[in-house]
Symmetry: none
Subunit: 157 residues, 2 copies
């Protein structure tokens, strides 16, 4: 419990310690160099400036940047003349799992969900779940589109 707290707020604690050190430094400077000849206002000003800076730095550090995604379409030409070269990149980019790919493959062979289920030794519902994920990931609505896109992308022969 305590350990996890420390781990989670490690940065915050570090900041605190750093600040303490800064204060010590200030104290040291005060004693060593600028021996209290100067007026209180000057110290106050220095401290104010310093810690305003610290505050700004903190805010910039801690404020999380708004992430704005910009999608750029990049055309990739695929020669489907070849004896099918599997597109590893596309697969990992789409985050397609092994099983989903299996289902897509059998879909492309024209099997019904029930037939796919029988072939993979799973239930019809499972196949439906997989196919739904495939459609999501390929951003399509129907199995025919999934097959078409899958072939274009080199996921299936």
């Amino acid at each position: 419990m305590t350990a996890t707290f420390i781990a989670r707020h490690k940065q915050t604690i570090l900041y605190g310690i750093l600040l303490a050190l800064l204060l010590f430094l200030l104290k040291w400077l005060e004693l060593r160099l600028l021996i209290i000849h100067h007026s209180f206002e000057i110290y106050a000003g220095i401290i104010a400036l310093l810690f305003t800076g610290v505050g700004i730095w903190l805010a910039l550090k801690l404020s999380r940047p708004k992430v704005q995604t910009m999608v750029i379409e990049k055309e990739v030409y695929i020669n489907n003349f070849s004896p099918f070269t599997f597109n590893e990149g596309a697969l990992s980019q789409l985050n397609m799992s092994r099983r989903e790919l299996d289902v897509l493959q059998l879909m492309a062979n024209g099997l019904s969900n029930q037939e796919i289920a029988d072939q993979l030794f799973v239930s019809l519902n499972t196949v439906k779940t997989h196919s739904a994920r495939v459609f999501e990931k390929l951003e399509v609505k129907r199995r025919t589109q999934a097959v078409e896109k899958g072939k274009r992308m080199g996921l299936i022969p």
Copy 2:
């Protein structure tokens, strides 16, 4: 409103509290060990706190929201070079009519029967009739199989 603010600036607030605690610690040490003039340190601490806050406020108010543009390259797969040679023989041998071929073609593009109907300016029922004939002639049971076989036979690209 207040809750979200707290949630959003949780770290900052935590830092503030920690800082205060550290200052108290400092003060305590000072009183215990090097009992010197208090007034200045207290003021310094207060000023430090205050202006740290000011700095944070300044940074948050004045700095434009950090926008981190994340460029995502979305690959669009395009099937370039496909030397599709139409198989006249197969078409006549199968006795496929013009309209049936149209339907098969649109099927292969992943359209639903309704979409095909809209595109060909005919009714849904008509498309169903055509597709049924296509299935008969290609000796298949499903549209996915029809598309697969149609492509293999060179009826569609």
